[in-house]
């Protein structure tokens, strides 16, 4: 079992990874707190998986250091790190039953058989797979396999659990369901979760903190709300949710489409911009309206369907209004 003195905080200090001339991860510093659900979010090629593989010990660190609770683990091989991991595609052992898969970590540590049995039962209950204990992975659905992978990775009570796009293979409806289960399991086991994804909805709905990565570097770190409400640059603002960018007096502001109000006609004194509706797309709960402004910009506005306004139509002149706090000034350059 894991050392009880390990609490599961990770310190990543100036870590870089070079593949030849290519810098996959470039001088990253990050403190991961004990017990938090931290998401590494970025487009493909942003270095998030490379960083995760270095934490897991499958990739050597070119420069810098990774420490667990302050003690460097840079030279500890993967099999001695005691980090659980849920792999992309799950990587279950196809020739073993669910029970043997889940108990594998304890079995290679030569724990007594009845201890393994009890612990596996506990884990299967956690992921609600008790009745599947004697099946082989090939006889399970994708969602069930995902839960086996989770139980297997948590069975030896690791201080840190690494998850590499664990929901990538599931269909959309199942993903939402599994997201809630994952969040619930995180609350119950209290282990530090480091979660890699390129799906911004997953990141927003599950994380305590999100790290947005691009080109091997960190763009911004914060809680989902901080990142959504106060993005610091255009990349963050457009990668996490949608954003309009407004250029005024040499400054750039990000403005979320749902924070703009839209009034038919051109008589509103508080109007920030005026323009004409070019396009309306209906999404059921809301509609997305694209407005061509008189300044020549294109602004997206999301309006709840119930609030209006069957009188909106393409070509209609409208005023755009928003509160001062809705526009966030971005760093430029």
């Amino acid at each position: 079992m894991a050392d009880p003195t390990q609490t599961g905080s990770l310190q990543i200090r100036n870590v870089s990874k070079f593949f030849g001339q290519f810098r996959a991860v470039n001088d990253i510093c990050l403190d991961i707190r004990n017990g938090e659900f931290l998401t590494l979010l970025g487009p493909s090629g942003s270095g998030k998986t490379t960083l995760l593989m270095m934490i897991a010990g499958f990739l050597d660190i070119s420069k810098g250091e990774i420490a667990l609770d302050g003690a460097s683990i840079s030279d500890v091989p993967a099999e001695k790190r005691n980090f659980g991991m849920v792999f992309q595609g799950y990587a279950l052992f196809p020739h073993m039953t669910v029970r043997d898969n889940v108990g594998y970590a304890l079995s290679v540590r030569k724990r007594p058989a009845d201890e393994i049995r009890n612990r596996v039962d506990e884990m299967l209950e956690l992921v609600q797979l008790q009745e599947f204990a004697d099946r082989k992975p090939g006889q399970l659905s994708g969602g069930q396999q995902q839960r086996v992978a989770l139980a297997r990775a948590l069975c030896f009570a690791p201080p840190v659990l690494l998850l590499d796009e664990p929901l990538g293979a599931l269909d959309k409806k199942l993903r939402v369901e599994v997201q809630e289960q994952l969040k619930d399991i995180h609350r119950r086991v209290g282990t530090t979760f480091i979660y890699v994804t390129h799906d911004q909805e997953e990141a927003l709905s599950m994380s305590d903190r999100i790290v947005i990565m691009r080109d091997g570097a960190i763009e911004q770190v914060g809680t989902p709300k901080e990142l959504y409400e106060r993005p610091i640059n255009q990349f963050t603002a457009s990668f996490l949710g949608k954003s309009n960018f407004i250029h005024q007096n040499g400054k750039v502001f990000a403005l979320r489409p749902e924070k703009i109000d839209l009034m038919p006609g051109n008589e509103n004194a508080e109007a920030r911009m005026r323009g004409a509706i070019r396009n309306i797309t209906y999404f059921g709960s809301m509609q997305r309206i694209i407005v061509d402004t008189d300044e020549g910009a294109e602004i997206e506005v999301d309006i709840d369907v119930w609030r209006n306004a069957s009188d909106l139509a393409e070509g209609l002149r409208v005023d755009l209004l928003w509160k001062d706090s809705a526009a966030v000034e971005l760093q430029t350059g």
């Binding site: 897991a56 001695k80 790190r81 005691n82 991991m85 792999f87 990587a91 279950l92 196809p94 594998y104």
Partner: protein, 282 residues
């Protein structure tokens, strides 16, 4: 015709010529051999009774089985190591290894056997080299005995052992091995508990292939055994061509066939043969 179509899938029409060919060219002759073994020279099981009269025949069968088992063991062990190396080395080295493997695969068995004849002789390269570096004083008898037959057969069989294993190893997801390490397993634990079981279908396929092919070996025992190592295939040919006892030859062929079928049946008790022969692994 309508009624016929309803009962017989039209697809059968397409494969019918092939079916006929299989029946005519394989099933027919095999049944003929089985038939010969109980009818020539007279009806009854007198040919099979010969196995119990004296130990000459039994000794030949036993020699054959022993040589085949040893050949299979060594071919599969070497084959497993070679396939493992090929899967896990760089692409360029892999291409070299595959080329070498296929070249030796394509060279005629006769050529390869005679090559060993030259290498293993009393004045052959191997003995001369060993004497020159002072490892041995007298030439070692590598030939005209079972050792020679085994060397020749293992060498011939290695490519056959490698190919099914290569396919099986290439289909393994490296992440599964990573998962094993991540869960705290050492290299040898990962090998014995994950890698070996996952390559088991390939291992069984390769073992069966090598063993069954070895049973029919003819040229290598005749040349490298120097007449001192008599295996079933050579004995059958003597019965057919020299002593003209076709019944005895047919009986021995039938025994080998039945032996192989029994082996497959025993295997099928332990695992699904469809996974061995490339079916879906479930």
């Amino acid at each position: 015709m309508q009624a016929l179509n309803r009962h017989i899938h039209p697809g059968w029409l397409i494969i019918a010529p092939l079916m006929l060919m299989v029946v005519a060219l394989y099933l027919g002759p095999i049944l003929n051999i089985l038939w010969l073994s109980v009818t020539d020279p007279e009806p009854g099981f007198s040919n099979y009774a010969k196995l119990t009269e004296g130990d000459a025949l039994i000794r030949i069968v036993w020699t054959t089985v022993r040589i085949c088992i040893i050949t299979t063991l060594f071919s599969v062990i070497f084959g497993y190591s070679i396939a493992y190396a090929m899967v896990h080395c760089h692409q360029r080295q892999k291409t070299y290894m595959l080329t070498l493997l296929l070249v030796s695969f394509w060279i005629s068995i006769l050529v390869r056997t005679f090559a060993w004849l030259m290498l293993l002789g009393r004045k052959g390269l191997v003995n001369v080299t060993l004497e020159d570096i002072g490892l041995i004083a007298e030439p070692v008898a590598f030939m005209r005995n079972e050792l020679g037959v085994l060397i020749g057969m293992v060498h011939y069989m290695i490519p056959y052992a490698v190919l099914p294993l290569l396919v099986s190893m290439q289909s393994i997801d490296q992440r599964v091995m990573d998962a094993s390490r991540n869960l705290g397993a050492s290299g040898s634990q990962t090998f014995w508990r994950v890698y070996l079981p996952m390559t088991m279908p390939g291992l069984v396929a390769s073992t069966l292939l090598v063993f069954i092919l070895s049973l029919g070996f003819y040229v290598t025992p005749a040349v490298l055994g120097g007449g001192k190592v008599l295996m079933v295939a050579e004995y059958i040919s003597v019965q057919l061509l020299v002593t003209l006892k076709w019944g005895t030859a047919a009986m021995l062929a039938a025994i080998m066939l039945i032996g192989v079928l029994v082996m497959l049946w025993i295997m099928s008790r332990f695992m699904k043969l469809s996974t061995v022969f490339g079916g879906a692994a479930r």
